[in-house]
């Protein structure tokens, strides 16, 4: 329909035109997307600044097709079947800032057509079938800031075409077939902040391949075939986010990141790591999280001195047997610690890690818990010590764990468990401690809602639902339960397993609990 557009300075509303196939707004926006169009509609207002032709069936752009739209700033042609763009198709679009050509059928970068787009800042060419990037592809684009070339069929980094792009800030070459990165591939991209290269086939990279990327902050090399640690990152002083998970890297060398002091996140899981240099993660004061999984041959706990802002540390699947005594000297803001599936025999005191909320040490060889192991951890909520060899827990070990809600001690060698301090506990797992035969008492676990115990009869202490109301029946029941000891108000326990039943009665037979 017709829409009126007030032209600046003329004081009279000029009836702007709009193609019947589109919806136009008063500000010069025209939405012709998803209309089944095979050509660019005619009759659009000369003042159109935003034109959306996405999701149509346009296969070609002829010469001068937009010549009547000199004010166009954003042109969307995503999701068509574009195969050919005439060299003069985009002529006259001197104010175009955003050009979206993603999800089309282009086999090469339409370099001639792009030549005069001097104002262009964002160019999307992702999800085409581009195998060739002509040398002059981006020559005229001096204002280019963001370039998407991901999800195409490139087999190498377009070094030549990129070499004059001093203003480029964000580039993705992900999801292509790039196999290597030559030295100085991005030499003149001094403004580049983000570089995505994930999901390629990169096997090796030149030691100087990232030279010149003085301002790079994010580098994504995930899902490639890198065989060795990307030493080239040493020329990236401003790097903050680095990913090279899901590669074939076996060794993280000593001092791996010593030239990247601003690193915040490093993703390196799903690599067949066999060695991690002890000094690899030192002095990374901005590092927030570190996740090292499956470094099967690593025996030494990496030094974390100078890496004092770590909030999450995951170090699993190694041959580490000991944790440094001074681990918590530097880690006062550590919140989650996962040291499962190692070979740790002894736990140090985690006292300095005052912010710890979640500790998992399951599947190790820990044998005892001392008085000071978890002392002072008043924020700890979840503690998983399952699948160890714990025989002894000091009676005051949990004294300061006033916020602990989940405690898993299953599959150990415990005969008893101290409950002092566990006032907030609502889930306790003790199953798989065959030596723990005595009856447990619920009174020191006021908030308990779920417990798993080695033997069904131990659930009896927790299963009386209406025991808090004294009535003749419950008194009778209380005696039946061998309630020699004075049974005080028993909290309502929602779930206890294995629950007693016909063949696992609460009442003991013939004077011995042992006969079941």
């Amino acid at each position: 329909g017709l829409c009126s557009l007030r032209v600046a300075g003329q004081g009279r509303s000029t009836p702007a035109t709009c193609s019947p196939l589109c919806r136009c707004d008063e500000d010069g926006g025209a939405d012709c997307s998803g209309k089944g169009l095979s050509t660019v509609p005619a009759g659009l207002s000369a003042f159109t600044y935003y034109l959306d032709l996405s999701m149509n069936n346009i296969t070609e752009l002829p010469a001068n097709v937009f010549k009547n739209l000199p004010y166009l700033e954003e042109l969307r042609l995503a999701g068509n079947d574009l195969v050919f763009i005439h060299p003069e198709a985009l002529s006259g679009l001197y104010q175009l800032k955003v050009l979206m050509l993603q999800n089309n059928q282009l086999k090469t970068v339409p370099s001639a057509a792009l030549k005069n787009l001097h104002a262009l800042q964002s160019l999307r060419l992702d999800a085409n079938h581009i195998t060739v990037v002509p040398g002059d592809s981006f020559e005229g684009l001096q204002q280019l800031r963001h370039l998407w070339l991901d999800d195409n069929s490139l087999t190498e980094v377009p070094v030549g075409p990129l070499q004059h792009q001093g203003n480029l800030q964000a580039l993705t070459l992900a999801l292509n077939r790039i196999t290597h990165i030559p030295d100085n591939a991005f030499a003149n991209l001094s403004s580049l902040v983000v570089l995505h290269l994930h999901n390629n086939r990169i096997q090796e990279i030149g030691k100087n391949c990232f030279n010149g990327l003085d301002n790079l902050e994010t580098l994504d090399l995930n899902f490639n075939n890198l065989k060795s640690f990307p030493e080239a990152i040493q020329t990236l002083p401003k790097l903050k986010e680095l990913g090279f998970h899901s590669n074939n890297i076996a060794i993280i060398p000593e001092g791996a990141f010593h030239k990247n002091p601003l690193l915040r996140t490093v993703h390196l899981y799903d690599n067949p790591l066999s060695f991690v240099g002890r000094s690899a993660f030192q002095n990374l004061s901005d590092l927030h999280s570190l996740m090292l999984r499956g470094a099967t041959l690593v025996q030494d706990f990496p030094s974390l001195t100078g890496t004092g802002n770590l909030e999450s540390l995951t170090l699993t699947g190694t041959k580490i047997r000991a944790i440094p005594e001074d681990l918590c000297e530097d880690l006062s803001v550590l919140r989650t610690l996962d040291l499962s599936y190692n070979e740790i025999e002894e736990l140090p005191s985690f006292q300095g890690c005052v912010s710890l909320q979640d500790v998992t040490v399951q599947h190790n060889r820990v044998q005892q818990i001392d008085r000071d192991t978890f002392q002072g951890l008043t924020s700890l909520r979840v503690l998983d010590l399952s699948r160890n060899q714990i025989k002894f827990i000091h009676r005051d070990a949990f004294l300061s764990l006033s916020a602990l809600t989940n405690l898993d001690l299953s599959m150990n060698f415990l005969a008893s468990v101290p409950t002092a301090g566990l006032n907030a506990l609502n889930q306790l797992k003790l199953v798989g401690n065959p030596d723990m035969k005595n009856s447990l008492t619920a009174k020191s676990l006021p908030k308990l809602r779920s417990i798993s115990v080695p033997y069904a009869y131990q659930c009896c202490a927790f299963m009386t639902c209406d025991s808090t109301h004294s009535s003749p029946e419950s008194e009778e029941k209380r005696k039946d339960l061998g309630g020699d000891e004075e049974m005080e108000r028993v909290p309502l326990v929602m779930h206890c397993s294995p629950s007693p039943g016909a063949f696992k009665p609460c009442a003991h037979l013939l004077g011995s609990w042992m006969i079941r």
């Binding site: 995503a78 964002s122 999800a127 963001h146």
Partner: protein
């Protein structure tokens, strides 16, 4: 979910009555629109304002842009276009440029 019944939206490979599109045609982004507890999948070549596309081997997803004062994200860590009146620097948006930097009003950059 069912194979392509007539009711599937454009660009959709399989959909369900309740959740709309559950799988998009290759290379399109799936956007999960939420109304109350219901999520409805829609397939797009360009993610809407406030979202950016993440491409991966198996699925391409429209993901919410969470950079402060950003109108259009390039990625999780980089803003391609700041909200009106803000300056962009290194992929983030500023009311006034960081110390030591001058404003370029023509391109609203520092």
């Amino acid at each position: 979910s069912t194979e392509v019944p007539p009711s599937c939206s454009s660009g959709c490979e399989s959909c369900s009555e309740y959740n709309g599109c559950t799988k998009c045609r290759p290379r399109l982004f799936i956007l999960l629109e939420r109304s109350d507890i219901r999520q409805t999948g829609v397939c797009l070549a360009t993610c809407p304002v406030g979202y950016y596309g993440i491409r991966n081997r198996d699925v391409n997803r429209c993901t919410q842009c969470k950079i402060e004062n950003c109108a259009d994200c390039f990625s999780r860590t980089f803003c391609a276009k700041c909200k009106e009146g803000l300056y962009s620097y290194s992929g983030r948006c500023y009311h006034s440029c960081p110390e030591g930097l001058t404003t370029v009003n023509a391109t609203m950059e520092c």
